[in-house]
């Protein structure tokens, strides 16, 4: 499923978090509170996609991508109409402060984001490997027909997976706005990198996604300081091209 609206949902999560913080709710708590709402929203979006495209067999090629581009565009315009185009930031006790390790200071917001991201990735990896539904989600990505033979409904499983993916956007959006300012068009910046991380990791590999994200981040920083800033944006797709050439299934794909 070419879900190119995922970064737009991420930005939507950030703005929803911003909205809740205006009522005095901590951004991290806001992200957690928004997860069930986003889960239901994800179920709805998938159902709409299934009814209009997938169920009719018209999701092949560019049409499926066009659907999600349309959704991303609607989300972006909706955010502009609701919040304007200005950058939005949030406040919390762990924003604007740092933790000291000797001479080294690390911003608390980065530690919080890293910790939550690690916990979320671990939880998802456990869910996908230890539960029946989790394994069914992995299976539906590999072979829908085989899954149907095992007595599971692929459409239901995909809807559930889409709901979970959208729910993660709520907490990830909260982390995004904790780290830095957001604006409605921010998803455009993330879509290339998101695509790169997922393919680099190998489709379906949770731990691979974490590793690919780290590899990309470190590689960009190294290139930034050694080869210069002009080359930094080329790192993601440069690594992607090399990996696809050497190992088409991705670094951790099967």
């Amino acid at each position: 499923m070419p879900h190119v609206a995922h970064p737009a949902f991420l930005v939507l999560g950030a703005y929803a978090t911003y909205l809740l913080t205006t009522y005095g709710i901590d951004p991290l708590l806001a992200g957690l509170l928004l997860m069930p709402v986003f889960f239901v929203f994800g179920l709805g979006v998938y159902q709409f996609y299934y009814s209009t495209f997938e169920g009719r067999g018209s999701d092949q090629g560019l049409r499926g991508i066009a659907f999600f581009f349309g959704i991303a565009f609607i989300v972006q315009v909706g955010l502009i109409l609701a919040f304007g185009v200005d950058q939005r930031l949030v406040d919390a006790d762990y924003i604007g402060t740092s933790v000291e390790f000797g001479d080294m200071r690390i911003p608390q917001r980065m530690l919080v984001a890293f910790g939550v991201a690690l916990a979320l990735t671990s939880a998802l990896a456990l869910y996908l490997s230890r539960t029946f539904t989790g394994r069914a989600i992995k299976a539906v990505a590999q072979d829908e027909g085989a899954l149907r033979l095992m007595g599971a409904n692929p459409v239901r499983i995909k809807r559930w997976a889409f709901g979970i993916a959208t729910a993660t956007c709520a907490i990830a959006g909260a982390l995004l706005i904790i780290i830095g300012p957001v604006e409605p068009g921010l998803d455009r910046l993330y879509i290339g990198r998101t695509f790169c991380v997922v393919v680099l990791a190998g489709l379906g590999s949770m731990s691979g996604t974490l590793a690919a994200g780290l590899i990309l981040g470190v590689a960009e920083s190294v290139v930034l300081t050694t080869a210069g800033t002009a080359w930094a944006p080329a790192v993601a797709f440069g690594i992607l091209l090399i990996v696809l050439g050497v190992r088409p299934a991705g670094l951790f794909g099967r």
């Binding site: 185009v85 200005d86 930031l89 200071r105 911003p107 300012p181 800033t229």
Partner: protein, 409 residues
């Protein structure tokens, strides 16, 4: 024969009437989304207010003004296409440049090639290489980096600064500005202890701020765009830049935008940054004050920058300049208009402006202001005097610079 003459006269009268009824089209692209969208939307509101005002007075040359503005998403790549459409499909009569250097630079070769009048909109040195004779930039910094970086670096020098760290976004505006800063720093004998570019739209500056801190500079000159500026201010608060730093800031776009100022609040204290207008007594201007009263009402309705200090008065002034030039020359011919603007003083809300040979303000009026005494996140405090104290140039000064660490407390 008489019938033919009569017919020709009638047709001529009809065609004249048809032209008279056609609107004067003014076109531009404007960042309405993306990193500069916040500033762009506020600027666009001011231009729309000018269009409404001029149409209420009967328009230009007795014709209504039609304003066409497309969103360029702060993406320099799409701007030439938008201006081609404005010229070849929309057939606009006059052009205004988009807000910002990065999005203006790509259209400079086109306007030079087609020999068009282009009213610049807060660009920095966009015409330095092209040298187009029909470019008139409405921005208070003038040509070259001296009027900009000079005031900042002189303030640093006055505090005893001997070394400098430079950090800049890898984009047209920031690079133009920091290149000028390097030249001035060298001429002033400042020792460069750190000089690093970063990719535009970076969100985390921890490693850069740590590196600046380790370099122990006296002066930190920053050339950044809105989201980066906010992230840098936060990173400085979290990590500190070290006790040696006496002055920090200079060219940080975004610290003039109300939502960012409101969100950062006290974290801004001590930063010294450029500005086009701050509510200090040396900048008090009844026309701007009156305009801002009207603007604030509209800004609230349209959910754009509620303060509107930075761009809106200057964008309204672009309209005033076109109004003056077209009214005086009774022409929409670009050569005639450019000649007029070049030779005459343009009377605008932001002051009377004369242009130099490269189409920049002949007498720059850029101020460096230091954030002081910001408490909490109340936006109204930024409307008060003393919150952005002008530390230079001398003619505009409303206070002496205070070293960064003292202004933080």
């Amino acid at each position: 024969m008489k019938f033919r003459h009569l017919l020709a006269a009638v047709l001529a009268a009809f065609s004249f009437a048809a032209v008279a009824q056609q609107p004067v089209k003014i076109g531009m692209s404007m960042p309405q989304t993306g990193p500069l969208g916040g500033g762009g939307k506020a600027a666009l509101l001011a231009l729309n207010m000018w269009v409404e005002d001029v149409n209420a007075k009967g328009g230009l040359l007795g014709r209504k003004v039609q304003f066409i503005a497309y969103d360029d998403q702060t993406n320099p790549g799409v701007v030439p296409g938008i201006y081609s459409k404005l010229l070849d499909i929309d057939k606009v009569d006059l052009l205004i440049a988009p807000y910002g250097t990065n999005v203006t630079a790509p259209i400079m070769p086109m306007v030079k090639q087609r020999d068009l009048l282009l009213m610049g909109n807060f660009s920095f040195d966009a015409n330095a290489q092209i040298k187009h004779d029909k470019w008139f930039n409405n921005a208070p910094w003038g040509a070259g980096a001296l009027a900009w970086g000079g005031t900042f670096l002189q303030a640093g020098r006055a505090l005893g600064g001997k070394s400098i760290a430079i950090m800049a976004a890898d984009a047209e505006f920031a690079q133009n500005l920091c290149s000028g800063g390097r030249v001035i720093a060298k001429a002033m004998g400042l020792q460069t202890v750190y000089d690093q570019n970063y990719p535009p739209n970076s969100v985390d500056f921890s490693s850069i701020i740590r590196a600046v801190r380790a370099a122990k500079p006296d002066i930190v000159f920053i050339c950044s765009y809105p989201a980066e500026s906010a992230a840098i201010v936060r990173a400085v608060a979290e990590l500190g830049v070290g006790p040696t730093v006496k002055i920090i800031g200079g060219g940080m776009v975004g610290l003039q935008f109300a939502p960012i100022m409101e969100a950062l609040g006290p974290l801004l204290n001590g930063f010294v940054n450029y500005n086009s207008y701050v509510p200090e007594k040396t900048m008090d201007n009844p026309a701007v004050r009156e305009f801002l009263k009207r603007y604030e009402v509209r800004a609230k309705q349209e959910k754009v920058d509620p303060l509107g200090f930075y761009l809106p008065p200057f964008n309204y002034a672009i309209g005033q300049m076109l109004e003056q030039a077209v009214g005086a020359t009774k022409s929409l011919d670009h050569k005639v208009l450019a000649d007029y603007i070049r030779k005459n003083e343009m009377k605008t809300m932001v002051g009377n402006i004369r242009y130099d040979t490269v189409g920049e303000w002949a007498k720059p009026n850029l101020v460096m202001a230091q954030f002081r005494g910001i408490k909490g996140k109340d936006l109204d405090q930024f409307r008060q005097q003393g919150k952005q104290v002008i530390i230079g140039p001398a003619a505009m000064k409303t206070g002496e610079i205070i070293p960064f660490d003292k202004a933080r407390n």
